[in-house]
């Protein structure tokens, strides 16, 4: 049975929607395979707008890994904006992939990558447009297996009724193994139907199938027990860890869209994982241990990627890029190699104390001088001890002085508001810090036109972190602290300081909903569905987000069950409490997390295991992994001369 493109039905709708180019596909380096020549077919979804989803590294990596297998096909799909959704409903056009414009319902697997929980409603839109039953229980052998991945998959309980399965951790090897299971099951004539297919996935221990696990609740609303409800299914599900990054040099050929996207550059992941131990950071906790890509691996990926994409900027990606053991050599040798080719380098996330003048110089040598962003996260020394972000104001001033002296005029600083134990005073010190940055910048540069932007996000406690037990700060307190902070920034005898400080923040309401979806359990699922039925879409976009829609649905669904929005968010958990994700194993010992939570409350810091002895978080022994870091002392391999004004030299164009 071949599957037809729905493009002929879609095309007449495109002149009537905004930015139609996002729906036509045709990206450079995209793959469109012949349907009938393949056995296992994946649709990969990033549940946000195309411009946000296309540059996503996770989707790009899995797309390429899967398409490299001869009998496996992978295509991509993104959330369609409400204008097109309306037309698709009117004209009966199903949710489609942008590669082959094939209907989602025809695929074996629908993999959805969740970087944030605010994409849940968009997944429901896609399922509904595709004609796939919203509830996993209503699906048959003819429907795709809906698989969640990404960081939110470490607690997929709020969407447990809507997905068939979830994979925790790195996806590269998991998608290959799942493809093998499907191929074998199909070859055997699909024995046991969908149930058997899901059981085969579950019994590997690395794929979570929510419907194979039952929760019971106590009269007070707390979870009583959780466990498997059938044989062949393990008690706990382990996260996946890809160890040798050099063996996985993806994406080799980055996708380059015709449409504008949020990241107009190619990215190379220089290491994965982080052991800095910031207590609020879910990414740092669930991606351990640190695994570095070698300097040669990085150099090779960049040259291939630049030649294949034509991008003018390379982002050296990781959770804290300046922490790579050879970051100095990497930036220097890359800057040498691409001299005169207008190829810029950027470090999207840089630790304050790891940045220095050498790094600043290498980053600004070729091409553009991109913005500098640092994340002190907390305004006061005290709160930074609570969150284990061990940078001092002195470090920050030293670092920004170096940057301003090297010609930068603007620095952006990230902070959080609503952290555990936080007081008004902790937040007000952000204003002092920003003013000190401007003062230091003026001295270092000898100029007046120094700017600093402070960007403040609401803190959301996340599963598998020491703060998973914390009470989330209520939106009114957040809003009041931010108001006081704004006054403090502007009220000063030296008015010129405040004028040079930009302040960006959102009100605290979206954070509370993110909190509900982050630490919620299965009972929250019907809230998501109710919000979606009431029109909820694109909840990560302030112009589409409706707090009232969420609170109304939460009251209606949760309160009859004896729980509430507050119960899931602003309530502090106890040590004994069964958490909805206890059966999902990130490798971290629950005891260690609890001790780290107690250390936070006592304002005690925790070192990084890359430079001090192991502190027994539990990941390496549980997962059979180890830290993989340099320095290797190796150098970038020389490459044939780069071009003029381009990283590529084309012999056909050489002067006659």
């Amino acid at each position: 049975m071949s599957v037809q493109s729905v493009f002929p039905q879609l095309e007449p709708l495109l002149p009537r929607v905004s930015k139609p180019v996002q729906y036509v596909g045709g990206e450079l380096n995209a793959t469109v395979k012949e349907w009938d020549s393949t056995t296992v077919r994946w649709a990969l979804m990033y549940p946000d707008a195309y411009e946000v989803g296309l540059p996503n590294q996770g989707v790009m990596i899995l797309y390429e890994v899967l398409n490299e297998i001869a009998d496996v096909l992978a295509e991509r799909t993104y959330a369609v904006w409400p204008d097109l959704e309306k037309l698709m409903r009117e004209h009966g056009v199903p949710q489609f992939t942008v590669d082959g414009h094939r209907p989602l319902g025809a695929f074996d697997m629908l993999g959805v990558s969740f970087s944030t929980e605010l994409g849940y409603t968009n997944m429901l839109t896609a399922l509904d447009l595709a004609g796939i039953p919203l509830l996993a229980a209503d699906r048959t052998e003819d429907h795709p297996v809906v698989l969640a991945g990404g960081h939110s998959a470490f607690n997929p309980e709020p969407i447990a009724d809507y997905i068939d399965a979830a994979v925790l951790g790195d996806g590269e090897e998991a998608v290959i193994e799942i493809s093998d299971i499907i191929r074998a099951w199909k070859a055997e004539g699909r024995p046991g139907g969908r149930d058997e297919l899901l059981t085969r996935m579950a019994e590997t221990g690395g794929v979570y199938v929510p419907r194979f696990y039952d929760f019971t609740y106590r009269p007070d609303g707390h979870i009583d027990t959780v466990g498997p409800n059938r044989p062949r299914v393990p008690e706990t599900i382990a996260k996946r860890t890809t160890m040798d990054l050099d063996a996985w040099p993806y994406p080799k050929k980055p996708l380059v869209p015709l449409a504008e996207s949020v990241h107009e550059r190619m990215s190379v992941e220089i290491f994965r994982g982080c052991t800095r131990g910031c207590r609020f950071c879910q990414a740092g906790m669930i991606t351990r241990p640190v695994r570095e890509r070698s300097i040669e691996g990085i150099g090779a990926m960049i040259q291939t990627g630049l030649a294949a994409s034509g991008f003018e900027e390379v982002g050296l990606l990781s959770l804290s890029s300046a922490d790579h053991s050879e970051i100095g050599e990497i930036t220097k040798q890359l800057a040498d190699r691409y001299e005169g080719t207008n190829t810029g380098l950027s470090l999207p996330s840089t630790r304050v104390d790891a940045f220095n003048i050498d790094l600043a110089n290498e980053l600004s040598r070729n091409g553009r001088r991109s913005g500098l962003t640092f994340a002190p996260e907390g305004g006061s020394e005290r709160i930074r001890k609570v969150i284990n972000k061990m940078v001092s104001e002195e470090d920050l001033i030293k670092t920004v002085s170096a940057a301003y002296a090297q010609g930068w005029r603007q620095v952006k600083l990230y902070f959080m508001c609503g952290l555990p134990t936080e007081t008004d005073d902790d937040v007000l010190q952000i204003a002092e810090m920003a003013k000190n940055v401007i003062r230091a910048g003026r001295v270092a540069s000898g100029r007046k036109d120094i700017r600093c932007t402070i960007s403040i996000g609401g803190f959301v406690p996340k599963p598998h972190t020491p703060f998973q037990w914390a009470a989330q700060c209520d939106p009114d307190t957040i809003d009041s602290r931010l108001r006081k902070l704004r006054e403090a920034v502007n009220s000063d005898r030296d008015r010129s300081l405040g004028r040079n400080i930009g302040m960006r923040y959102h009100d605290g309401k979206p954070s509370i909903i993110e909190g509900l979806l982050s630490r919620g359990d299965r009972r929250v699922g019907r809230v998501i569905e109710a919000v979606w039925r009431a029109g909820g879409r694109f909840d990560g976009w302030s112009e589409h987000f409706s707090y009232e829609r969420w609170t109304t649905a939460a009251s209606a669904v949760l309160e009859p069950l004896g729980v509430s929005l507050d119960w899931f968010t602003t309530r502090e958990r106890t040590e004994e409490e069964v958490l909805p994700w206890d059966h999902l194993d990130s490798g971290l010992e629950k005891n260690w997390l609890w001790d780290d939570w107690q250390d936070a409350l006592d304002e005690r810091e925790q070192d990084d295991c890359r430079w001090t002895p192991c502190f027994d978080c539990g990941v390496c022994p549980a997962m059979g992994t180890d830290i993989e870091i340099g320095p290797t002392g190796r150098k970038l391999l020389p490459i044939s001369p780069v071009g003029v004004g381009s990283p590529v030299r084309n012999p056909a164009l050489s002067s006659p």
């Binding site: 003029v644 004004g645 590529v648």
Partner: protein
């Protein structure tokens, strides 16, 4: 320093690209092809590329023009070939010549458009066009970033004729999304199709195919049942017979001499 002038086409699905999309695609293709581009100076150097107008989003074209500056001399034909290979199918380089004397932009006096109107009876279309040509001023409304504005679409229309359809619109229907097919066109085989050929003078603000259709709506209540498909067939200086001269002719001549 060498300047090269290029003619390119924007075809099939790629007609949904905006001018900014096309510009980014060109810059990246030039880098992939290893073209020795000249860059501007300063903190944010940009490749020196001069765009000569641009077909609107949603409109196809066989006659778009751009001028690029290089720091090393190259053979224009080779450049055309390597750049075309690097560009997505549907953005197709048709010709490249070394820039001769004289400005480029002022050679684009008018455009020749072909507008297909599936489901519109050619007789009805002919009647509407006659009424348009018999009118001196037709105010049409256009949505811009700053809200609605009124423009007079009539004076810029120099010539308009209706062709017999639907035979001319028959094109290969697409049945798959093979990579090479994104530059292919859709077709409406089952429907009758009115085809309008219209020569429009380049004015400020520009009168686009959409504005001409709005004018037909105003004078004759013509309402196409599905969106029209417009293609720019040529740009150039108006000659005495109302035809358009090839804007690259002068450069080609200079190259020969």
């Amino acid at each position: 320093m060498q300047k090269i002038r290029l003619r390119y086409a924007k075809r099939g699905r790629l007609r949904f690209t905006s001018h900014r999309d096309v510009a980014r695609a060109f810059e990246r293709a030039l880098r992939r092809a290893g073209v020795p581009m000249a860059y501007s100076q300063g903190f944010n150097p940009h490749p020196k590329i001069s765009w000569i107008g641009a077909a609107p989003t949603g409109v196809a074209s066989e006659a778009e023009y751009v001028e690029v500056s290089l720091v090393e001399r190259v053979d224009p034909a080779t450049l055309a070939q390597v750049l075309d290979t690097a560009l997505a199918p549907g953005l197709d380089v048709l010709e490249a010549v070394e820039a001769g004397p004289g400005g480029f932009a002022e050679r684009m006096e008018a455009s020749d458009w072909r507008i297909e109107l599936p489901g519109v009876d050619p007789g009805d279309l002919r009647g509407a066009v006659e009424r348009l040509l018999a009118t001196e001023h037709v105010e049409v409304e256009r949505l811009t970033k700053d809200g609605r504005r009124l423009i007079d679409a009539r004076p810029a229309v120099i010539r308009a004729v209706v062709l017999e359809g639907p035979a001319e619109t028959e094109e290969t229907p697409i049945d798959d999304d093979a990579p090479g097919r994104v530059g292919a066109d859709m077709s409406y085989p089952e429907r009758s199709c009115g085809i309008l050929r219209v020569v429009v003078r380049q004015t400020t603000p520009a009168v686009r195919p959409d504005d001409v259709l709005s004018a037909l709506r105003v004078v004759a209540a013509l309402e196409p049942p599905v969106p029209a498909k417009a293609t720019r067939l040529a740009q150039g200086r108006l000659d005495d017979d109302g035809g358009l001269s090839d804007p690259l002719a002068l450069d080609r001549q200079a190259g020969l001499g």
